[in-house]
Symmetry: C2
Subunit: 237 residues, 2 copies
DNA sequence: CGCCTCATTGAAGAGTATCAAAAACTGTGG
DNA sequence: CCACAGTTTTTGATACTCTTCAATGAGGCG
């Protein structure tokens, strides 16, 4: 069956080809070709995929798991720039220019990746320029997120930033629950802190405060139930 | 003379076509075609080109002057996201998707613009897909800047953010001077404050402090001489 | 069950925002 | 070229928020 041929051994659910928007415009033949090109790799939780100032010459698609892309300042502070999960891709910046990476990439859980080498990808783009538009769309989406992030960090207080990350996580990693949205947190408190640019103690205090007020409920350290999404959204406006 | 034919009446120096990287891969014939399509517009200092939640259906190239792209929070705080000048373009996000704008655009000085309608631009891209790569490169450059901005706002103190904007401005608007780089500031103190997410008083205090230490020298309100660029760079690292 | 990691809480301190007032600058018109 | 008026900037005092440092508490995995 065609389904079998198109099945990528790493991506249990065909993620790296059929399911991601990047290749949605391709037909079966071309998908098959791409699957032939793909290199697979697996990383365990906590492992570093890519270090700062190294060469990244492939487009990487996440077929399973989650990663964080972050920088470390010379004072040792960590700033998380992206959290990516199944279906997301990264490394696109290095496809059109030759530079060393300017961040680190680490697996947040056991993860699998499909990698397409720069040269192969350029060939694909050449044959299917519409993929270029998809990449542009994704770049625009990321720009949107950063524009919002800069606005938040520049004009909003910490309540707004916490609300913002809770809403982002509830959209990406949340599932409807009897009285709200249950989030499976991809990050620890410290990770959240490094994502929004505050200290872990501040995150702790704010989350406790939000819980006291009934906006959220913390279930252990790895889950948060968002009980009042509307009020969180009001903090951001 | 060919030069005459290619001369765009708005852009005294042929900026909108020959001089901007976006169209650098086109030949004379195609440049001439684009010049025929372009609509010109002029705005005075302080005028609003585009308001929030409106339609922007053209790619706009700045042929003369400077603009700021900014948002206003519901508390009335302004966050400047971009400052663009001669040769820069914007509006590209709306070329591939139909959305209302999510920011305001205002002329920082008397400015002239060359506008290419969405439909025309898509036609150009169709005939010259290499322009798509140029747009992607520009998007990547902007992403880089925002990644840096988020890192700065998240992990660095205000000294670092002031240093960062001084270096950015000295690269964009600075000219070598006997003992440093003279910057013609595109923004007031308040503008700088709204660009890096602090108050105007803080900008004042920090600049005074930098002047006392001999890093910079303020010439009136519209010029700053960067005397010790190296030390400013150390603040950012 | 115990250990190690992660999270919470408290108290003190640093840094920026805010409010208020004075000073400096810029551009205009005489 | 100077004076004036409006705007912008600087400076000071105070308040508030977040950070830092320190200690306690809870969670999760072997």
């Amino acid at each position: 069956m065609k389904e079998d041929i198109l099945y990528c051994e790493t991506c249990r659910h065909n993620v790296c080809t059929r399911r991601i928007p990047l290749f949605s415009s391709l037909d079966e033949d071309n998908l098959r070709k791409i699957i032939g090109i793909i290199k697979r790799k697996h990383f365990k939780k906590g492992e570093l995929l890519i270090g700062d100032k190294t060469i990244l010459d492939s487009l990487i698609i996440i077929s399973r798991g989650k990663i964080k892309i972050f920088r470390i300042t010379h004072e040792g502070k960590e700033q998380i720039l992206y959290i990516f999960s199944e279906g997301d891709f990264f490394g696109e910046k290095n496809l059109i220019r030759n530079r060393l990476t300017n961040y680190n990439i680490e697996a947040l859980e056991d993860s699998s990746f499909c990698m397409i080498h720069k040269d192969d990808f350029q060939e694909i783009i050449h044959e299917h320029p519409q993929i270029c538009v998809k990449v542009m769309e994704e770049l625009c989406t990321r720009l949107d997120r950063f524009e919002n992030a800069v606005e938040n960090m520049g004009t909003k207080n910490v309540d707004a930033r916490i609300s913002s990350v809770l809403i982002e996580f509830s959209e990406k990693y949340g599932k409807p629950y009897k009285n709200g949205i249950m989030i499976n947190l991809p990050l620890t408190r410290e990770g959240i802190a490094n994502y929004i640019g505050v200290t872990r103690e501040t995150v702790s205090r704010k989350l406790s405060s939000f819980q006291d007020k009934g906006y959220i409920e913390m279930i252990g350290n790895k889950k948060i139930l968002v009980k009042d999404r509307v009020i969180l959204e009001e903090f951001i406006q």
